[in-house]
Symmetry: C2
DNA sequence: AGCATTATATGATGTTCGTCATATAAAACG
DNA sequence: CGTTTTATATGACGAACATCATATAATGCT
């Protein structure tokens, strides 16, 4: 044990990463401390050398989820002109692959009904993540007369996260696919994107 | 004990009602069998005279949530002309009072990230509830040329549930209120309702 | 009146949980 | 080389959990 002075940092990062994945997949309360530590190749007792409590771990995990979301956003939008960036982000977000991989996906959709039972720090991290995403979507929206871009961004974010959450919740595959397809088309139209591109199936 | 032959039926109904409220508030997994029974004035052991398992209780609770949702829908829409019914339903759903009382509210918003971890029966009840609601929203939408009412209903449901879930998740009150207000305005416009009614504050 | 039925209660089982006190052993430092 | 520091391990604590076997007592039927 103890393989270097900054090994602890690496270990902690690994634990948080695993926790972030597991908690998106199974919910923060369903993920046990011992489970996370075992997945990191450790035993449960050492946990409290890194975190003050499980609530602390949850807060750190939520923070990391939004870091990963930033990467996803950047990957979909960078080096693209605004219209194309917006289309790319919508297609990536409201997609089957996002629906089918909650452990790698957006925290807002994954934790929508879990987060309000969590501690102060986890909720603060969530707030910050939402605010940041809203800012980015607003900035991508085209300016049009009579359109409040900020309000449109809020409304679109609700539809995006609601559609992915609903598509995950539903067990009928056809209905789930329909939810994604309808939301995707509606979102593109509301974003002011030309309607009938060759309808790519984003999987 | 045993106060009559149909007393058991009453008791079961009471247990399911309590479970439906608690599970919307705290999540199905966070609600213990003993907790529900105690709230019903009983002890935990008798539980298995009424239900085969906790999963069974969850399924029954989800079923009941959608029954209550039907009542809410009917209450907001009955005896109203289509436009007015639609406006009334949107205002009631995307409201502060709905946000602040998840235990009495819509199962879709309350369980969006919980339900996909549940058993077959609970998920089937959820599917049925979503399908039924979608049918009702579709029927209320005005017919317009070039508008797929069903697709619009799906997209609007995603925005409604996403907005309420996000408004609950966020701890910043101002942001939470903004989410509701933006979604409400957007939904009314998308439903084809005249834009600037005297903006009632639905609480 | 007495017997069978059944709704609820008591209490136990074995798990899993978060937390913590303590032990170990390797690295860093003198 | 020896001492201190510290990352991880071991093991235990009490609480909560779902489940079930059994007990109790009141009802409905004969």
């Amino acid at each position: 044990m103890r393989y270097g002075p900054e090994q602890a940092e690496k270990t902690k990062e690994r634990v948080v990463k695993i926790a972030a994945a597991q908690m998106r997949k199974r919910g923060p309360e369903q993920v046990g401390v011992a489970d996370v530590m075992n997945r990191a190749g450790l035993t449960h007792g050492g946990f409290y050398a890194h975190f003050a409590s499980k609530d602390d771990l949850i807060a750190a995990a939520v923070h990391r989820m939004f870091e990963e979301a930033q990467d996803m956003f950047r990957g979909a939008t960078e080096d693209k002109e605004r219209h194309e960036a917006l289309r790319s982000y919508i297609n990536a977000y409201v997609s089957k692959s996002h629906r089918d991989r909650p452990e790698r996906g957006c925290a807002i959709a994954a934790l929508s009904s879990d987060i309000h039972r969590q501690g102060r720090k986890a909720r603060a991290a969530y707030d910050k993540g939402i605010a940041s995403l809203l800012g980015k979507i607003t900035a991508l929206l085209p300016e049009q007369e009579g359109v409040d871009r900020r309000a449109l961004a809020v409304s679109m974010m609700a539809e995006m996260t609601g559609a992915v959450a609903a598509a995950r919740a539903v067990s009928d595959t056809a209905l789930s696919d329909e939810i994604l397809a309808s939301a995707r088309r509606s979102l593109r139209a509301r974003a002011g994107l030309p309607p009938s591109q060759p309808e790519r199936q984003s999987r």
